[in-house]
């Protein structure tokens, strides 16, 4: 019994750790897409900010400065994407793909040139990272039967960014649903003409949304490099930007939906390793690749309309301009 509980706590704890960049990435995509700008480039922004954070952390030995650097770099990518999509009215999908490729190549080229480790950055010491912290009073409840391990292992024992990601969800919900900015954001993604005729600048609104996307992906990338791991290695995002996109779509472009989807995908990842070699009744051995592929599979099924409807913001993907 104790063993089972320990395993459950481990799995759930791992879920949270894996889900963190997904949550942040999905929220980032939420801001961008709700404003009408499709962003395929979450992956690239995460990668670029991971590299920036790892580099600055190695040089400055400060996790917080590294975080600032990560956010700045992601913001820069976001600005380029915004310029291409909003001001130049270019193809939003193409821009996202371009920036992904740029990030993938540039991070290794620069990393190799600066650190000569084939793309990796130097391993970071604990002070340059966001380390897991214990919750207050963890020692006191250590011996309690169920609550103890839960409090210690699941709720406690994570680094700051994990808690920040979780807090970002209700915050996003509040901003999007209860503030003036959120109202205008939702409006411009559904009918930019309504916003324009009300005298509000469509472009400025979208730029702010895109920059918020940069902020959140910057935090996600920083997490990957200096919280979850101790440095940057090539292609370390490994598709998580795309899974975040899938989580956003699966969560129907809502904050809590994105949270739920991210947690689900994180859970799948956490149990994937454990299921390796285990025979499931009636099916036989479940291939680990199937579980890894589940987020993508589920997203496709959702998009096909088989698990309810997924209505993207109506104006997403269409550049706004006065054509009369």
């Amino acid at each position: 019994m104790q063993d089972a509980l320990a395993i459950v706590v481990l799995i759930l704890s791992a879920t949270l750790r894996v889900a963190t960049p997904l949550i942040l990435g999905a929220l980032a995509g939420l801001f961008s897409e709700r404003s009408g700008i499709i962003d395929i480039g979450l992956e690239g922004k995460m990668l670029a900010s991971a590299f920036a954070a790892a580099t600055v952390a190695a040089l400055s030995n400060s996790a917080w400065i590294a975080l600032a650097a990560g956010i700045a770099v992601a913001g820069l990518f976001a600005l380029v994407h915004g310029y291409a999509c909003i001001t130049q009215r270019g193809n939003q999908v193409v821009s996202g793909i371009a920036l992904n490729m740029l990030a993938a190549g540039l991070t290794v080229v620069l990393g190799n040139a600066w650190f000569h480790r084939g793309g990796q950055t130097p391993t970071l010491s604990a002070e340059a990272r966001f380390m897991p912290s214990d919750m207050p009073g963890a020692a006191a409840v250590h011996d309690l039967p169920v609550l103890g391990p839960l409090y210690e292992g699941l709720i406690g024992g994570h680094n700051l960014i994990v808690y920040a990601a979780l807090a970002a969800v209700p915050l996003t919900h509040w901003v999007v649903g209860r503030t003036r900015f959120g109202l205008r954001l939702r409006a411009v993604g559904e009918n930019p003409q309504a916003v324009d005729t009300a005298g509000i600048s469509v472009a400025w609104l979208r730029y702010r949304a895109v920059l918020l996307c940069g902020l959140l992906t910057g935090i996600a990338g920083t997490y990957l490099a200096i919280a979850q791991n101790a440095g940057f290695s090539r292609d370390m995002t490994a598709g998580q930007g795309y899974i975040a996109l899938a989580a956003l779509i699966f969560g129907k472009w809502r904050p809590y939906g994105a949270l739920g989807a991210s947690l689900m995908f994180g859970l799948l990842d956490a149990i994937a390793i454990r299921l390796q070699g285990v025979r499931v009744v009636g099916v036989g051995e479940v291939p680990v690749q199937l579980i890894q592929a589940l987020p993508y599979l589920l997203t496709v099924i959702l998009l096909a309309g088989f698990i309810g409807k997924a209505d993207a913001p109506k104006a997403a993907g269409t550049p706004y301009g006065k054509e009369r």
């Binding site: 270019g90 193409v94 793909i97 490729m101 540039l106 190799n112 690749q289 496709v300 993207a312």
Partner: protein, 374 residues
């Protein structure tokens, strides 16, 4: 500036602006090379020498270019129908899988003359099948083809890993590779083919699939611009209203164009599996799918442009490898950077240079009105 600007002549649109886009990309790449402490000009020198300096370099360049042409054509065909096929990676992977399955099954029993058409069928068939589902979802359920094709790329990768690790792995092998094919299942390499003709080339992976690439260029050119179906496909891509008026069924066009696109992308598998590696393995698509988008955009979705762009990327690939030897600071990832920059300028910011050209032409036409009245 409220005055009316004279529209730019057509050759500027087709020739100058794309060149300006590529030039911008290369310029920024040069700046990056400078930033990491190398000389961009000498880098270009090493690159060109490595790619075109000797017959080995040329052979490799053409071999790389073959794959770029396949994926570029695939993206272009879909583009002409108004669809954005990002699934080239996955479709190429499946194409390779199909080739591998056919060759593993038949290399002991069948002669080359039978294996080749079967492998070709498998490459195109599997590639088309992998594009079929996203196409159907777009046509009949309205699912955005960009997202579904991205997802299918990942699904293809997962499927491939599973099959290679669990099913098709050669017994006793340490890495996820199948056993090697028998000689009947080899695509002849060009240096072998040309020997009877008295041409001596250094051995390179360049194989017969380059002929297939050339044939597909002609095929796509004929199909798009010289058949009724191609006419309908392009109409649908330009104007949905005109397509409906012309009696075209939009769903049919979506399905067929995507399947064609996937089939062409699948040919990368023929080149890699049957022509080069002679076994099934992972990651043989190595980014060709995404590069195909760059090739198509640079080549303005026309086979001639795609061949030129494919050659350019082939030069970058081969030259890049040489460059990585000569200047270790510049790794092969620089090629990816250049690809990204090309896509950015050709695809997302294509009109950036337009105001500059319009100003230039306005100034010139004031000086020499007779010359520029096109």
């Amino acid at each position: 500036m409220r005055g009316a600007r004279a529209p730019l002549p057509h050759w500027v649109d087709v020739g100058l602006i794309p060149l300006a886009n590529v030039a911008s990309a290369l310029l920024i790449a040069g700046v990056i090379v400078l930033a990491i402490g190398e000389n961009p000009l000498s880098a270009v020198g090493v690159l060109l020498a490595g790619a075109l300096g000797d017959s080995e370099g040329i052979g490799y360049t053409l071999y790389y270019a073959t794959n770029f042409v396949f994926t570029g054509l695939a993206v272009a065909v879909a583009f002409h129908a108004g669809l954005f096929n990002i699934g080239g990676e996955g479709q190429a992977t499946l194409g390779g899988l199909g080739v591998g399955l056919v060759l593993l099954a038949g290399d002991g029993h069948l002669p080359f003359a039978a294996l080749l058409p079967l492998a070709l069928l498998a490459a195109t068939g599997f590639g088309a099948a992998w594009a079929l589902v996203p196409a159907w979802l777009q046509a009949y359920r309205g699912s955005h083809i960009v997202i579904t094709t991205i997802m299918f790329n990942f699904l293809a990768a997962a499927l491939m890993v599973y099959l290679m690790v669990n099913v098709l792995i050669a017994p006793g092998s340490m890495s996820p590779e199948s056993r090697e094919f028998g000689p009947a299942a080899y695509l002849p390499q060009m240096h072998e083919v040309l020997v009877p003709l008295g041409v001596k080339l250094t051995a390179t992976p360049l194989n017969l699939s380059v002929a297939l690439a050339a044939a597909l260029c002609v095929f796509v050119w004929l199909l798009l611009w010289h058949t009724p179906f191609g006419f309908e496909l392009r109409t649908a891509g330009h104007s949905a209203a005109a397509a409906v008026y012309a009696g075209v069924r939009p769903r049919r066009v979506v399905m067929i164009s995507m399947c064609l696109s996937g089939a062409i992308a699948g040919c990368v598998g023929l080149n890699e599996i049957m022509g080069v590696h002679h076994r099934l393995l992972l990651n043989f698509t190595a980014g060709y799918g995404f590069a195909g988008i760059a090739v198509a955009l640079m080549g303005r979705n026309h086979p001639v442009g795609i061949v030129l762009a494919g050659l350019l990327f082939g030069i970058l690939s081969q030259g890049g490898t040489e460059l990585a030897f000569a200047m270790p600071a510049i790794t092969r990832d620089m090629i990816v950077v250049i690809q990204g920059l090309v896509i950015l300028f050709s695809g997302a910011l294509p009109q950036l240079s337009r105001p500059g050209f319009e100003w230039l032409f306005a100034v010139l036409s004031r000086r020499a009105p007779a010359l520029w009245n096109a």
